[in-house]
């Protein structure tokens, strides 16, 4: 008993008091800034990007396709910089496209959030996670949202074991064809109203797997997506802030 108390005492405080304003350690690659007025070889950038995430006219990075490898920033450090801003989530797919000359925070467009979402889930949101071809890293980061550091439970957000207990689905992975039917089963088992969150580059756009014959993304065509959370994998703070934004619970 004394040993247990000693260990407990030695841990000190591990939780992150404010998940919105905390700083992540090191050289995290978050929201990019593409500087206007700096000349760059766009053809070279298009050829360089492994994810086809770079667009031209105007020059832009699609965070729904980006793997955050940073190669473009290494090639053109004066033009492209990745900041440590981990708030990357948006409720609209086009909200993930960061255009040249734009340096504003990414925030959920509150007007486009369905009215029943905030009314029904504002104080409690239970989620069921479905991995369909995910590589395991997004899944580990979603698990980490519940650990003592990020402690997403304090906001009334939790992952539950059954879709019947859930208010929504969090999809990871490019949606493998072999999982398409089971994914739909889980989605349909969630009572209405429900939310659908796509977590990670693979889930949002298919990533490098988008044109693989082994994936079947067409099952997403008829479903309403409430939140896109970019990352490869998503950082726990990106996910937590994204969901808080969706629910209208961000303080800053």
């Amino acid at each position: 008993m004394l040993e247990t108390l000693k260990i407990w005492w030695h841990q000190g405080k591990q939780w992150i008091p404010d998940v919105e304003t905390t700083e992540v350690p090191g050289i995290f690659r978050g929201r990019p800034i593409i500087k206007a007025g700096v000349a760059v070889d766009e053809a070279m950038l298009l050829d360089l990007c492994p994810m086809d995430a770079i667009q031209t006219n105007p020059l832009a990075i699609d965070l729904g396709k980006c793997s955050f490898c940073g190669e473009c920033a290494f090639a053109c450090p004066d033009k492209i910089q990745f900041t440590k801003d981990f708030k990357l989530s948006h409720n609209l797919r086009e909200g993930l496209v960061i255009k040249e000359g734009v340096d504003t925070p990414i925030r959920v467009d509150a007007d486009k959030v369905r009215k029943e979402i905030r009314k029904t889930f504002g104080r409690s949101l239970k989620l069921r996670q479905v991995s369909a071809g995910g590589d395991g890293s997004c899944e580990l980061e979603l698990n980490a949202t519940g650990n003592v550091n990020f402690d997403v439970g304090r906001f009334g957000i939790d992952f539950v074991a059954s879709p019947r207990h859930a208010d929504g689905i969090v999809l990871t992975g490019p949606l493998s064809e072999n999982m398409a039917e089971s994914f739909l089963d889980a989605y349909n088992a969630v009572p209405d109203p429900k939310v659908l969150i796509l977590a990670g580059t693979d889930a949002i756009s298919g990533g490098l797997f988008a044109d693989s014959e082994a994936v079947k993304r067409s099952v997403l065509n008829d479903l309403h997506v409430d939140l896109y959370v970019p990352g490869n994998p998503v950082h726990p703070l990106t996910f937590v802030n994204g969901v808080l934004g969706l629910l209208g619970k961000m303080k800053h």
Binding site: E3, T4, K6, I7, H10, Q11, V24, P25, G26, I27, F28, R29, D47, P50, S67, F68, C69, G70, E71, F74, F82, Q129, V130, S131, A132, G133, G134, D135, G136, S137, C138, E139, L140, E141, L142, N143, N147, V148, N149, F159, S162, G173, P174, S176, E177, N178, M179, E181, S182, A186, D202, G207, L208, F209, S212, E213, A214, V215, N232, P233
Partner: protein, 500 residues
């Protein structure tokens, strides 16, 4: 022919045996207790013909036997699995992919339901083993699991609470990644793919891809870079093992261990983020170059991070392995005895916990490991306890390894750039290379085959999970079904790494 890890061989130099000779020579090589099959696959050659490539590694002589045979689609091939059970996943893969006939395979079922399969049928129609008895019942779990974890289907046959039999059906995660290696032409795309084979083993798989790519190009990484890659691999091991100890505590309802190991994992993966910007080490390992040189500041940061981690980790681990309530759940639970482990071909951590000294770092070392006197941790009891202890002991070993590697790295001086970097895929034409690394889970094996144009013709990946899933299925026999989660976590196998 006898080769070593990362040795490039011209396809024309490989003798094409008749299937009978191929079979006899494979049986002969596998007759040695230190030998095991690390890769075996078929490569289409023309309309109806296939080349079979089989790699058998001998951990004592440190060489690898490469056997090759040309067979026709309609040949009747005597199954190697009938002689050596550990071959079973490889023959199942060749069967479902190309519908080759293996005669005498005891369990010729689909392995992963690839989209381009020629045999195996529908994934919802898997031929599960059945026992007809009014005293038994079946329990189906998955493909979607209760936790935040990848999908797989488990079918138990139980008598009351006791598991008689477990069959594991995989394939749900299949993304066609081996084909994508060939279809995606940019080097950076292939490197990114290698990081996404199994997201919990980024460094392990990316290092195997990088070693294979550099070998094919005849490019040798400078020693300082080899040392840095080894530091990354050991750091990945420390991080995942720490997280696994947390999860093992969760599954025996030991909340303190779950919380403490869980929060101790955070600084370990955050260290990777400080190094390369990704908590999982994505973008750190690149063929022919590095974007993130291991600086003296990073070395000092690692020493500080470990100085804070180690006392808390040791205190927590000692308490965990001293608590009767934990020990009673993990001792003699999910046992795989040594002989069974050898028969089914366990590798890596699970193999070492069952008394098999299988560790690529010593048996077929590459890069910085060639000059290291590493003694693997080998335990005998083969139960959940041994697999948990394995994590504890390997973390301490890896910390020591990194300390030694940092000394080596410092002796090589601060570096600022690579002398001869490359950004494009270049490779010897019509060649084949096998590249093995020891990830935290165990032996990772990549085989790259190039065509006449020097581009990739085929890319084959074997995650350690392919060898070890059967180990989990056999470990839980005659255990209570409530102990299944803890057995599963103690193996912690990859679904996407298996399904590819």
């Amino acid at each position: 022919m006898k080769i070593t890890n990362n040795q490039v061989v011209a396809l024309a130099d490989i003798e094409r045996l008749t299937y009978n000779d191929f079979f006899m020579q494979a049986c002969d090589a596998l007759g040695n207790d230190a030998a095991h099959c690390v890769s075996y696959f078929a490569l289409p050659e023309g309309e109806e013909e296939y080349l079979l490539f089989c790699y058998i590694a001998n951990d004592e002589t440190h060489d690898i036997e490469l056997l090759c045979s040309k067979v026709n689609k309609n040949d009747e091939l005597q199954s190697l699995t009938s002689q050596n059970l550990a071959i079973h996943p490889f023959e199942r893969e060749i069967y479902e992919k190309y519908a080759l006939n293996f005669i005498g395979h005891p369990w010729l079922k689909p392995l992963r339901y690839p989209h381009d399969r020629q045999a195996g049928g529908d994934i919802y129609d898997y031929p599960f083993y059945q026992i007809d008895s009014p005293e038994l019942h079946r329990v189906g779990v998955g493909p979607i699991h209760a936790g935040i974890i990848e999908p797989g289907h488990f079918r138990f046959i139980c008598e009351g609470e006791k598991i008689h039999h477990l069959e594991i059906q995989l394939g749900w995660q299949h993304r066609g990644i081996e084909n994508l290696f060939v279809e995606k032409k940019k080097l950076l795309q292939r490197a990114t793919l290698s990081e996404n084979i199994a997201g919990d083993t980024v460094i392990g798989h990316a290092t195997a891809f990088t070693n294979a790519t550099e070998a094919l190009a005849g490019w040798e990484a400078p020693e300082w870079l080899q040392v840095e890659r080894a530091i990354a691999l050991e750091q990945e091991r420390i991080a995942v093992h720490t997280g696994d100890l947390s999860a093992i505590c969760t599954d025996v309802a030991y909340q303190l261990g779950n919380a403490v190991f869980g929060r101790l994992r955070t600084p370990m993966i955050n260290y990777m983020q400080k190094w390369c910007g990704s908590r999982f080490g994505k973008s750190l390992i690149r063929p022919f170059k590095t974007n993130f040189i291991f600086t003296e500041a990073l070395a000092k940061d690692w020493e500080d991070t470990i100085a804070k981690y180690l006392p808390h980790f040791t205190e927590m681990a000692e308490q965990m392995f001293d608590l009767p309530s934990v020990l009673s759940r993990i001792e003699r639970t999910g046992v795989v005895p040594t002989q069974l482990a050898r028969t089914i071909g366990l590798v890596g951590m699970a193999g070492k916990a069952s008394g098999l000294n299988r560790d690529v770092r010593t048996s077929h070392p590459w890069g910085a490991y060639k000059d290291m006197n590493y003694e693997p941790v080998v335990l005998q009891s083969g139960d959940v306890y041994a697999r948990a202890q394995m994590r504890y002991k390997e973390i301490l070993k890896s910390i020591q390894l990194i300390r030694d590697l940092i000394i080596r790295r410092r002796a090589l001086g601060e570096q600022t750039k690579i002398e001869n970097p490359q950004t494009k895929w270049t490779a010897k034409a019509d060649s084949i290379v096998l590249s093995m690394t020891e990830g935290w889970r165990g032996m990772i094996c990549h085989v790259a085959v190039t065509g006449a144009d020097g581009d990739l013709r085929a890319y084959k990946i074997t995650d350690p999970s392919v060898h070890n899933w059967l180990g989990l299925a056999l470990a839980v026999r005659e255990n209570g079904i409530s102990d299944f989660p803890i057995c599963n976590k103690s193996f912690d196998l990859s679904y996407c790494g298996h399904d590819l």
